[in-house]
Amino acid sequence: MSNMIDFSIHQLRELLSRREISSVELTRQYLDRINEVDGRVGAYITVTPDHALDMAEAADRRIGRGEDIHPLTGIPVAVKDVLCTRGIRTTCASRMLENFVPPYSATVVSRLETQGAVMLGKVNMDEFAMGSSTENSAFHPTRNPWNLEYIPGGSSGGSAAAVAARLCAGSIGSDTGGSIRQPGSHCGVVGMKPTYGRVSRYGLVAFASSLDQVGPLARNVTDCAILLQAISGYDPADSTSAPREVPDYTGALRPGLNGMVVGLPREYFISGLDPEVEDAVRRGVSILESQGAEVVEISLPHTEYAVAAYYIVAPAEASSNLSRYDGVKYGLRAPEYNNLLEMYKKTRSMGFGPEVKTRIMLGTYSLSSGYYDAYYKKASQVRTLITEDFRDAFRKCDVIAAPTAPSPAFRLGEKSNDPLQLYLSDIFTIPVNLAGLPGMSVPVGMSSDGLPIGLQLMSGHFQEEKLLAAAYNIELEAGLEGQLPDL
């Protein structure tokens, strides 16, 4: 079979299990396509062909024996280069970690391995996951597969572009302020940020520990549910992972939404929202309605303060987390210095890119003596208000529907010199992280320029099934099936 890369995960599962194809053949087709296409897209930082083919052979043996077969056994996936992979370099798209080879794997990576998934390689991102365009990678930018002049979104831009360009069957990203959902929206793929605590953060290189969460990016909602299932669950190695049962996520995927109440937050439909995005999102909402959901207007009154609160909280946590890069235990060390302090300063100034330095400075300033109350404490109080907004809203509705991003993808270089403009493009995705809630982006339309538009769904803590159900129903009726970027 020559077109295996066109099949989605649940279709491949059947073909593999019936032994109509082998994981080795499938993996080879992906590796060939990466060779052929990724020079233009730039989704991967490190491709691991030998490792992938070893994993594929092992998966084929498992399938041959008919033992220990999981939904992802033999399926080729890509992993954001922010998750540690034992023996395979993990760079965080930073010069600081350019040659870092972790001695252990992130729990998410171990889970995928145990279930027999095949890792094709590590994909690109904004340095240390700080950014919304993947232009902040220290190595190279990633381009949007739908139009190579445009950014794929970020920070999980490599994960989203790899899925859209069929350079993997599915991928793993991380989301601190929208870094799975926004690139998902811009690349026309499904992306989910699970509830804080749903997925282990052990081995995820920390950016902002109270906001970071690992999650899947996929070609469709069913594949997203399969990937979420594979990575979810309590992990004793992450004390913030939740000791809760994991439901059967694919079981939530059924046509019809009778009994579901969908809230439309008026603060998300504001001037500045691209009219094509608004039209597409409203079309998505009418699909939810035609599938049986009741639509009500709601209010999330503190939405306009979320960006300011986030850009205090996240850099504050980052400035603390990134203090570990001191040139001693791993990572870069400056070649010349006269004393310890100079070694720290030279190492960090060489190793970090401009955006990472800006955020470390911002965080250090807001936590410094005399400013703590005015910035960090104030932002943490606003975080409470934003969380209470959601609590009130979920008394009236099950799921909130909104745009994922205020506009489709922008051109490479268009916003890279204007940090504030770029920060404001995260306005619709940030509140969910501050409140620790699950959020999801599902493709809902295309702009007149041929760029994808996503609809965002949000729900209460550990209510991922409701998101999947709503997204599944949008996908059934959105009429986007079979639309692929031309590469």
Binding site: A308, S349, I360
Partner: protein, 94 residues
């Protein structure tokens, strides 16, 4: 202006970063733009609002104090920029 050049230099010292003269100008400008935007939060009266540092109501995750396997010395040192005799090498401190 929220932050001056010399405050930027002070914060850079705290963050163990160093900048060239022109970089200090640039970063002071960027920080000011962002910090001025943060003033928006002052519109909100937050007196009596409990600060939130975490979204889950988790308490301390206790476990039994049992010895478990840890990284062998060799692997723990594998990524060290400089090492000697099973230890990290750092510049002289005292």
């Amino acid at each position: 202006m929220k932050i001056t050049r010399s405050e930027t230099e002070h914060v850079a010292g705290l963050a163990r970063l160093s900048f060239e003269r022109q970089e200090i100008e640039d970063i002071t400008g960027r920080l000011n733009e962002v910090l001025e935007y943060m003033e928006k939060l002052e519109e909100l009266d937050t007196s009596g609002v409990e600060p939130m540092t975490h979204s889950l109501e988790l308490t301390n995750a206790f476990r039994d104090d049992e010895v478990k396997p840890s990284l062998p010395n060799e692997e723990a040192l594998a990524n060290a920029p400089e090492k000697e005799n099973q230890a990290f090498v750092v510049p002289r401190i005292i």
